[in-house]
């Protein structure tokens, strides 16, 4: 294990009134690696995500992000849009949140808002059509085109995002997150609702993002084939606490994990495993 962590979650707790959604959770995500956060329904995975991306303010604990240049940021002190803007953490949503009435291309252009705002001189240079703005806009369109090509939606660039098939919408949301040029990409169940072929394409896309862009990825996933295939490191949660962590192979054989998923206790799980093999 190298000590190069892009994200370190330290003793994170999140309470909603009397309900403890996340309890004293600590884990790290390595740079340029894919970390998966798994667990049964209601384990608190999405809550952890919302804490990392600033949609929730954690009750206690620290979330540290270290950029490639060594610049460290405390995420729990920033609010949502600043986490995306300054800390360069991009996310997708469990229930897809595209801009349905805008075209696929426009969705990717909105993602480049902050860079384009600077290029348009806070709108004033853009309003008079300054040449520097025109080149910046073309560059943004080119970046969007590259991503549309990578997710295989180039020929549907001018279609409304809401009109795309479900699987395409999932990939478009990932492309939109990538257009913000993030250091850490957080994906909330990217394979949910995809068929086997689409999940395989998704795995390929995520592996290529890691290889080509060097983006670190943190994902929540229920589709074990995707998790086992692409993750470098797996963190398992149940009832708001971490119950196991390690390589996919290590996790697959952990009786505690199986017990959590089957909803039984450990001894039974071991019995099930042994009878199965």
């Amino acid at each position: 294990m190298s000590g190069d962590h892009i994200l370190s979650v330290d003793r994170l707790s999140m309470r909603f009134g009397g309900i403890v959604a996340v309890n004293d959770l600590s884990f790290n995500a390595e740079r340029r690696k894919i970390t998966a956060l798994i667990g049964p329904n209601g384990a608190g995975k999405t809550t952890v995500f919302n804490c990392i991306t600033g949609f929730y303010k954690p009750t206690s604990g620290a979330i540290g992000l270290t950029h490639d240049d060594g610049h460290a940021i405390r995420l729990e002190r920033l609010n949502d849009f600043r986490i995306a803007k300054l800390a360069k953490v991009a996310r997708t949503f469990q229930n897809i949140r595209l801009f349905p009435g805008m075209t696929a291309l426009e969705n990717l252009m909105v993602a480049q808002h902050n860079a384009l705002m600077r290029a348009s001189g806070l709108t004033f240079l853009g309003l008079i059509g300054a040449p520097s703005w025109r080149t910046a806009e073309q560059a943004a369109i080119d970046l969007a085109t590259t991503w549309l090509d990578r997710i295989g939606l180039l020929d549907r660039a001018d279609d409304a995002a809401g009109n795309l098939p479900y699987g395409d919408q999932r990939r478009l949301e990932i492309a939109r997150a990538m257009c913000t040029e993030p250091a850490l990409l957080c994906l909330d169940e990217p394979a949910a609702g995809l068929n086997a072929r689409e999940s395989a394409a998704l795995s390929e896309l995520l592996l290529s993002i890691r290889a080509d862009q060097g983006t670190s990825i943190l994902l929540i996933e229920h589709d074990m084939s995707v998790v086992m295939e692409i993750s470098d490191h797996v963190v398992v949660m149940d009832h708001g606490v971490k119950i196991a962590e390690g390589t996919p192979k290590h996790i697959r054989d952990d009786p505690k994990v199986i017990a959590a998923y089957l909803g039984t206790d450990e001894e039974e799980a071991i019995a099930v495993m042994e009878s199965g093999t």
Binding site: T53, F55, D80, F81, R82, I83, A84, K85, A90, R91, F93, R97, L98, F99, P100, G101, M102, T103, L105, E106, M109, V110, A111, Q112, H113, N114, L116, M117, S120, T123, G126, L127, I141, T145, L154, D155, A157, D158, D159, A160, G162, N163, R176, A177, T180
Partner: protein, 439 residues
Amino acid sequence: MSANPAAQTSRAPSAAFILKKSLISALVALVLFSLMIGVRTEAGPDGQLTYWTRFGDLAVMVAAVFGGSILIELFRQWWGPVDTARVVPAPVQNALAFGGRLVAPVLLVFTFLVPVLFYNERYILDLAILVLTYVMLGWGLNVVVGLAGLLDLGYVAFYAVGAYSYALLATNFGLSFWICLPLAGILAAFWGVLLGFPVLRLRGDYLAIVTLAFGEIIRLVLINWQSLTGGPNGVTGIPRPTLFGIPLTPADDGLAAMLGIEFSPTHRIVFLFYIILALALLTNWVTIRLRRLPIGRAWEALREDEVACRALGINTTTTKLTAFATGAMFGGLAGAFFATRQGFISPESFTFHESALVLAIVVLGGMGSQLGVALAALAMIGGFELFRGLDQYRMLVFGMAMVLLMIWRPRGLIGHRAPTVFLQRKEAISSDLVKEGHG
């Protein structure tokens, strides 16, 4: 007997159905009209209540409703099912689409020619100026409601701020219209930001209520701050605009005298017409440009999904504030024009009715559509004048026309959205996909 027994059987129960429906309509009419028409009350000579019955009239009304609903139902049956093949053939549809593309340019050219065509018809020129004022207001509010999806019921506040800014600056400091115009815009934008700060945490209905209150507050301040605004008496003697310092008056230094032509009061009307046309076109141009800039796309993205916006690092607060400020600025410019055109303003001109009218124009036009807003302003202001001959039924007919239009086109006259950027083809997006925004 019939060659089509299936149709026969399907029609058989419909007779009973029509009868039942018409009976229900007649019953509702009976209940409603029994008091409204059946009993006539009046104050007698000594102030006591006298009444008499008019059962004959009541029977006629109920019978008319019964017969009318039978006719309507029969008409619907004859018209046939709506959702089968389109009645309009493809070539006609293409021709209509082609015609649709020509609407905007033709309308623009016609607008430019209005003073030439109707030079001697003062009424039409005044009406055209009024319509253009509302086109401009509609386009201004369209930024807030149509693009950013923020429901603003107090838009008239910015109109009032613009009007009073010009009126007070001109009457107290003698500044010219052309200096005051940008100042009025800036002041209105400033008020837009001021309103925006506390309000933009609110969403949907709550936002609408607070903006409504803001509109009323501005009006009440104008009424009660007598020392500054003159209270209910308003501000009088607001100077007319000049053409580069040359007044349009019959005086020796007036434009007519300088050009050596005979003075006519119509000159000033035509001048005003072109000022408001230029202002409206400026509003349109800026809005179209802004839509293609990151700020405009952020407004539309905000209308589509605010949470996703924040996840992409967009500062939603400043984005909303810029939308409010931009819309308010255009409202302020229109207000300054209103003040200079009227020469007199009072708080009475800035009631909630104005906000509602401008909002209706935006909604009727199709939220976010520039052409739609222009057409809606023409229909609302111009159409309202058309019904003037109907006297007290004007509101009734007008309301009915609006209801019918909203049934026919629930998303407004122009119910689709044009993308701001495209790779291969520019294709309108159906309004079914476009969100209205909720905050």
